[in-house]
Structure formats: C-alpha cells, structure tokens
Symmetry: C2
Subunit: 471 residues, 2 copies
C-alpha cells in the first residue's frame, strides 16, 4: 500500500549550492537518517520538510521541489527558511549543546549550564520559533494532503507536533527520537516551563518511538513525572542498516582504494574506532584505555595500532571545539609515550571521509565503540557486516546497540578505562572460532533486523492506530 | 520503652585529642547528625560506632567508652581503628568525590570520572575493607546485646549491612541515607559489580529510609533496575531540627555577640547564605544571580548586600579545592564590578563559625538556598525558626526541604541564574504581611515535624516490623 507521508527533520536529504558557472548544484546529505529512510522514499509518496541551510537553499524555501534518490525514486522536498539569528539560537544554543548534553548526561552541573537571559531568549525566539516555522510548513502540506501521516524526527522538533495538533486535531503524527532519553531528574536541569513544553510536545503525537526499551521506559517515566500523563503509543523500533546497499558500498571503487591504503600501512593487529568528535563518543577515555593496554602488555607494542577516524563535529560550539582539542592532546600524549621506530600507537584522522571509514570497517581486528551514552550507534551494526578479519567488537553498555548485540561483544562500562583496557586485550586474544561465531551472530541479527524492519515497525503501528489517529 | 540501639556512622559524636599537659580532651562534633540524634541518646540505651579519626581516637579504638551528651545523657562510644591508607581511599577516593558526585549528579562524564586501577583498588582495599571493619565492630557489639537494633547512616556505609546480615541473619538493621538517591542511569556510571554491591548492601537492611518520597522512589527504581528486587520496607522520614534547643542557641551569648557584629555593619537589606563549600551547594551560580539582580535593579545597589558564610569542606579533594577557588573568584568579580564607597556587594566569610551562622539566620531579609541537589538542607529549616525580620526564603526545587516547605518559599530552578535573580528580587520586595504569613507557616511546619518526629517515625517502623526483623 502506497501511503502519503510527510517526513520532517532538521537536516534534509539534499542541499543546494551554486556551481562555478552559476548553475544550481544539489548535494545529497551523507547522514544516517537519509540513508535509513531511503526505503521509505522508494515505496511511498513522501514529502520531506527540512531546514534551508545554505544560501541557495534559502532561495528555494517555501517551494515544493521535485527530487529523487540516487536510485531514481521521486519525492517532494520542501525547505523551510528560518531567520538566521533564530536558527543559530535554535541549533547552537538550545538543540546543541543544551538538549544534546541533557540527553547524554553531559553537564557537570556544578558550574554549567548557567541558564541565563540569553538562553531564555534562545528558547523563545530560537527553538520555539523554529519549531513553529516547521509546524506552519507541515500544516500547509497537510492542507494539500490531509490524510498524510507526519513523521517528525529527533530532538530538534519536540514542539512542532503540538503546534500541528492544535491546528489540526485529526492529523496523524509520529515522532522518532534518535538520541537517548534521560531519566526525569536530569530533565529537571531545564526550567519547569521548558521541560514541560518538551514533554507536552511529545504527547501531541499519536505515536512516539525510541531505539530501545531503556529509552522508551525513561520517556514514560519522565513524561509521567513532568506532565502527569503518558502517550497512547510509545514503541521501540531500533534503527538499522540497509545491508545489501552497505555490502555493495564496501566493494565500491572508492572503498577498495581506501582499503588498499590501510592494508599497505596497517600493523599486525588493528583496533578501529569511527566517530564524530562528540563528547558522548568517549574518545579521550578510549585513548587512555589503549595506553593502559600497551602499558600492561609490552608484547603488544609495535604489533597493535589504533586507527581513529573522526569526523569533526559542531565546531561552532565551545564544548565541541574543546573536546576536539582534548582528543588531539590525548593521542599525542599516548604517542609520545610509546611511539618507536615507524610504529605510531594511535593514528588519528580528523576528516569526514566515509569511504575510508568503510574500508576500516573491513580491516578491523577489534572495533571499539565506547560511547558514554548513545541512542543506537550504527557503527556497531555496519562495521561487523563488512568486516573481513573475523574482528571482535568492544561495545559500551550505554549504546542502544548493546540491547541487541550484547551477547556477542565484549561489554564495557564506558567510564571504566581499566575495564576497557582489559576488554581490548580480551578482544585481541580471543580465539578465531569464537570471533567468527560472534561476528556471524551479529551479522545474522542485523540482516534480520535491517532498516526495512525499522520502517515497517513504525508503519504497522500507524496502521493499527489508523482509526484513532484519524479520529 | 527504652531500647538497645547501635548507631553506626563514619563520624562520631565525640573525638579525642591530647591537651597541652598531655591530658585527654574530648571534643564534641558539631555535625548535624549528632545534634539530630541527641533525642535518641537521652531516651534510649545507645552504643555509637564511628571511625577513629585523630591519633588519640586511634589509641582508643576497639574499647567501648562511656560518654555523655552535654545534657548528661550517657551512651557508649566505640571507635573503629582503620588502616590509614585504607581510610584515605575509602573517604577521599570512593565516598568523596565518587559516591557524593554520583548522588548529586556532579560528574560531567565526558572526561571524568575515569575509573582506573587506582579506583578499583580504592574500592576493594578502601571502601570494602572499611565497611568490613565497621561490620566486625557491629557484630562484636551484637554479641553482647543481640536484641539491639542497628542504625547505619549514609553513603559511607552501604556495604556494612550485608556483612552483618551474612553473619547474623536475625539482626534488626536500618539504614538512613542523608543524601539524594539518583535515578538508575546515573548509578550506571559505576562498574556493574560496584553498583550491584551498593544496592545489594542496602537490601540487607530490614528498613531503608530517605528524607523524601523523591529519593525513596529513585531508590526503589534503581534497586529494581540493578538487583531486580526491592526492600521490604522503604520509608521516608525527613530529618529536622530540635526546635527548643535551636531557639535557646539563638539566644546564647556567642550568637548574640556575633549578631551585634552583623547588625553593626549590615546593609539595609541582607541576603544570607550558609553552606559548606561543596559543588552541590551552587554558590558560584548564587553569586552570578546576585550580580544579575544588581544589574537589573540599580536602585538596589548600596542598599542590598549578600552575606555568604561558607564552611570550607573536603579540601583534600581536588574538585573541592577548585570549587573554593571558583567561589572566591566569582565573588571578587561581582565585587569588582559593583563595589562603591563602603558598600561591598558580597561579603564572603570562609570559616567554620556556627554562632555567626545562627546570628545571620536571625538577621536575613532573604535566605538563599539554591543547592543543585540536596538530600534535605537543614539551613532552610533552621534559619526561618529564629529569624527576626520576617525574612523570605528562596529555595531550590532540588533540595529535599522543598518537598515540605515549597508552598511558602520562592522556588527556583538551581541551574537558572536568571530565574534566581528574579526570585531574589521578588523575595526582597514581598509585602511584610505575606512574608510574615510564610515564615510562620514554615515555623509551624518545622515545629510539628521536628527531629523527634524524625526519630519516632523510624522507631515506629522498627516496632511494626519487630517480628519479621527478629525472624
């Protein structure tokens, strides 16, 4: 059954620029959400609403553009033009770092955050205004297609559902949260009217969805605590990978070229990590754990190397800029201590280079995913799928992926650097049969629970509540 | 009914030293717990078990000493001698800052804590060992008085109840937690075996008690999450003040002298805060809020002053030493900005000076208690009891006292400096009748729910479970 769907997310699947000769160029966004929703685009009648980011985007704001996926599936794209100052406050003050830091338990609370007049203004004139702008665009689209179901995505869009619901009580609204949902005490960092508005906005949806039972349960606890009510439908639907597409990608020319480079210089055993330079990714402690491994096991020096492929992230935000500095300092410290001959303990590449990441996925002996908190973490699903060395996975117990893959990984407490060093050693010395058994179990699980299962799960619930959603 | 009780706490009610002529001097500890338990000492047959802290204490360790309260009530005191290194690890590595920071949500988590081999050793050879030492002392006392009920206190003693229970399945054990209990996600900062041991230790008690329903509910959630079980009896019993004693104290010579000094130099309107220099007390943001008040209301300059009486706390722990530095820097910054003529906006006194604190309680026009998290906060109960100026209270919604006093205070979100500035202004400009009404309501509540009510509540539950506790 082909449905009418309106997908709403801050970043869209396509962004525009002007080429050297003044012609319009469209650039597909690499983000996980577009990739994950590709199946939706090919099977259903989708209108995607997203922020106009570039200058060229802004000139197109308000129009409904005909776009298509790389595979040729058509969809409509509507860009929402925001006032620049409002968008900056929405994105760089409220969504990141405030909401991101709350949802990943990253405030130290003794000194920061200090919620001041500037933050209150950023909420009112930034986050609220941008959400109202998104809601207005959704309502215009619903005027044309009143039976379309609306899929809101993530922590940028907690308020838009309430604005839409108030104007259109019968709309079918779904919200998916891609990040962790913290427990109620931590939401209390926000002023009462703000934490209430966020939870009230979530309750305006017919369905809210989370990656794991842990985040779903936390949401039910916090919405009960803060609003005193719970939603009709709160479900778990773990995001996943388009396996065929990913395996094709792993054999692409770009990835093969990058892989050849890694093979040419790799040490005997390769520990790989692939992350954005985000404080929640726990990169500094990861390097410290690797140092403790080398300290405890001199026999591994010159034989094991860590390849850290890090995509620089949100450098307009001081906490992120500082974290990137701390990452570089920590890698340098470990390298200064142990580097000898041509062996560099930690090879750090700070770049947005997806082909090299996929190449590293194929080449790891140990994959380290030690996030302090993570909604899902797709690296833990993607990398085992294409790995060629029966690599082992060290996985944080606070990553959403751990709920699915926990039986086949070395589980670690992300704050415990000693335990991470021990887990790295165990992963490096695990017998080949056991490594193969685990890797195959992970692959089987990911193939069975792929990205289409994620989409189907949400659509099925939409069917089930169809009657009530269209009250 | 006179009962046999064994009270167990890290700090005892008395500590010993050698005087100038080599004679033994006993010094009564000023801490809240001794004061709170004074009623218990006078009515029941109490043996108190506490750590030997001073050198002289250590020479007395293992003996059972006959002691008496200031009022002449006799009790027995038993000091537990600990190995110095073990005690340092127990106190300065595990209990503070680790457990304290977890229970007050004070870790930033991106960089700290980094749980390393030193921390694991501090747990095994410090916290576990010291708790075992306490348990051994309890068991020896229980040999003499097998029907005595044991009252464990606070975050220093989470494991001792399990050690006692294992050796004496029929013992009657109660644990009171004086600090907040965080929600389960935050306990997950600790390695699995450590968070499990803490919750399992709590489950070894017949009764566990907390100041508020919020902390009690959080405990039930975390013990269910981490151990999968809940205790038979978890109750709330908000600690409180010995009102008569406190009012007598307010008229003592020492307090009257200190009050005269304050009166001689006080500005027209006085904002008072009295705290330990603990990151959870939120002193830096309090100064910032006071700055915002002066910025927004030039008419208040030279008329309003803040008196901050701060007891230096735990200066052996780097986070605490740094916090004291930040307090001084922030006060200096605000003073440098606004100070004129003889008017100093913030008067900072860093000293352990209880008489001056009580004098300030009598003299405040506004009392500021803005803790980021606080188990109870007795200042919010003590100060209104003796205030002579119909002063108003600005109180953090995260202080346990807020659950009782919330209707009669200006409530603030402790992270919101803008809201705190607004609340200070409201409190300063509240009409006298309303201030009097609120202050009287607080006093009436505190008198009705005094420290004896706190003790009776716990003893009553012990009676009720008597049969099952002595299975």
């Amino acid at each position: 059954m082909r449905r009418q769907l309106i997908v709403v997310s801050n970043r869209g699947p396509v962004s525009y620029a002007r080429g050297p000769d003044g012609e319009r160029i469209s650039r597909r966004a690499g983000g996980g959400l577009t990739t994950a929703l590709r199946g939706l685009l090919s099977l259903h009648d989708v209108t995607w609403i997203a922020s106009a980011i570039t200058d060229e985007d802004r000139t197109l704001a308000g129009e409904t553009l005909d776009e298509s996926t790389r595979e040729g599936a058509g969809f409509r794209l509507r860009l929402v033009g925001h006032e620049r100052q409002a968008y900056d406050r929405f994105y760089n003050v409220v969504a990141n770092p405030m909401l991101w830091f709350i949802q990943h338990y990253l405030w130290e609370l003794a000194y920061t955050p200090a919620i001041d007049a500037a933050f209150h203004a950023a909420w009112d004139e930034g986050y609220v205004a941008i959400n109202a702008g998104f809601a207005a665009a959704v309502l215009e689209e619903l005027d044309d297609q009143p039976d379309a179901a609306v899929f809101f995505h993530d922590y940028h869009l907690y308020l838009a559902p309430r604005f839409v619901r108030n104007a259109m009580p019968d709309a079918a609204l779904v919200h998916f949260t891609h990040v962790p949902w913290p427990q109620p005490d931590y939401w209390h960092v926000l002023p009462q009217h703000i934490r209430h508005a966020i939870h009230d906005g979530m309750l305006a949806n017919d369905v809210v969805a989370f990656h794991t039972e842990r985040w779903r349960q936390n949401f039910l606890d916090s919405v009960r605590d803060i609003v005193g009510d719970v939603p009709a439908h709160a479900l778990t639907a773990p995001i996943s990978v388009d396996c065929d597409e990913f395996e094709r990608l792993a054999e692409s020319e770009q990835v093969l070229a990058a892989e050849a480079e890694i093979v040419a210089r790799r040490p005997d055993k390769l520990v790989v990590r692939v992350d954005r330079t985000d404080p929640s990714k726990n990169i500094v402690r990861g390097f410290r754990a690797f140092e403790l491994l080398l300290e405890a096991h001199p026999e591994l020096r010159r034989r094991v190397g860590m390849l850290a492929l890090l995509d620089p992230s949100r450098q307009d935000i001081p906490e992120y800029a500082e974290y990137l500095g701390a990452i570089q300092r920590e890698a340098r410290r470990v390298n200064d201590r142990f580097q000898e001959f041509s062996w560099l303990p930690i090879e750090l590449e700070i770049a947005d280079d997806f082909p090299t990441s996929v190449a590293a996925y194929k080449q790891f002996d140990v994959l380290l995913v030690n996030a302090t908190m993570d909604g899902m973490n797709l690296v833990a699903k993607e990398a085992p799928l294409v790995n060629t060395r029966n690599g082992a996975v060290v996985l944080s117990e606070n990553a959403g992926a751990h709920a699915e893959l926990g039986d086949w990984v070395e589980s670690v407490n992300p704050y415990d650097v000693e335990a991470q060093a021990v887990a790295l050693y165990r992963a490096l010395t695990l017998g080949e049969a056991e490594r193969r058994r685990r890797l195959e179990a992970i692959r089987e699980h990911v193939r069975e629970h792929d990205v289409n299962a994620w989409i189907e799960r949400q659509l099925a619930v939409l069917d089930a509540i169809g009657a009530s959603a269209r009250r």
